[in-house]
């Protein structure tokens, strides 16, 4: 008898390769590692706010369910490991949907690294890496209109503002209703700009 269970897709051999930047190793995490490196997010109301989670903090158990299951094909977490200090300073998440949209989030939890170009260096390296996969059509991110530092970073890298939603997210801790902004960069355009080839 054949049960109607679909086989989990295999990890993509290109996408799971390690990524290295000038200052950081971007370590592709399994589920346990992803929970560990993002756990500081769950207890930081500022990060929870900026990433638009529905609660200002989560218990470890609830957070583990929020993280999901990185599978090397549709969901990726990269620990941002600074070689200089031999430590994890933050994490980056990519959720790749079936239309080929890579939805990205990043949080640098080590405050001593804020304002030191971590976002730009990490994001460029990951977009170089992911844009070379035929699975990826575009990069997308949704950001609170009050998150000025992130907006700066998206603009600096060259993302297009494709729209914004007025009063579209209610902050759980303050009940403020905030605007969100939507950013996009087509993978094909990124490859052209960075002179990369599709693998």
């Amino acid at each position: 008898m054949v049960l109607g269970l679909s086989k989990k897709p295999d990890p993509d051999p290109h996408l799971i390769k390690p990524v290295r930047t000038e200052r950081f190793d971007l370590v592709n995490c399994n589920r346990k590692e992803a929970v560990k490196v993002t756990l500081p997010w769950a207890s930081n109301p500022e990060i929870m706010h900026n990433l638009m989670y529905e609660q200002p903090h989560f218990s470890q158990i609830k957070w583990a369910s929020k993280v999901g299951k990185p599978d090397g094909r549709r969901l990726f977490y990269h620990a941002i490991v600074a070689r200089e200090v031999k430590g994890t300073i933050g994490a980056h998440r990519i959720r790749l949907d079936r239309s080929g949209t890579a939805i990205m989030s990043i949080a640098v939890t080590a405050k001593s690294w804020w304002g030191k170009g971590v976002f730009e260096e990490v994001r460029i390296a990951l977009m170089d890496h992911f844009s070379q996969s035929p699975l990826v059509e575009r990069f997308f991110s949704r950001v609170l209109a009050t998150n000025v530092s992130s907006i700066y970073n998206y603009k600096k890298i060259g993302f297009r503002l494709i729209g914004y939603d007025q009063r579209s997210w209610r902050a759980p801790s303050t009940d403020d209703v905030l605007d969100t902004m939507h950013f996009e960069y087509l993978a094909e355009d990124w490859r052209k700009t960075r002179q990369l080839e599709l693998l």
């Binding site: 804020w114 170009g117 530092s149 700066y152 603009k155 605007d179």
Partner: protein, 80 residues
Amino acid sequence: MSTDDAARQLIAEALGASEADITADTTIDTAEAWDSLAHFRVVLGLEQTLGRPLSPPEIFDLNGFQSVVAILDSSAAGQG
């Protein structure tokens, strides 16, 4: 104070730079000190000056001296 002078002063304070270093060509790409934290301070300075939050398009279009002047000018015009 002219709009240009107000913009120069606001950007210089946000970047921790001298007003003399802020020119019409100063942008987020040309000024090394204009990083994400400085950008936050520029937005905050503008919002304090104008007495209102910037709109999402204003925040996104903000990329240097000229756009700061444009925002200050449009707000001054709006006060007619």
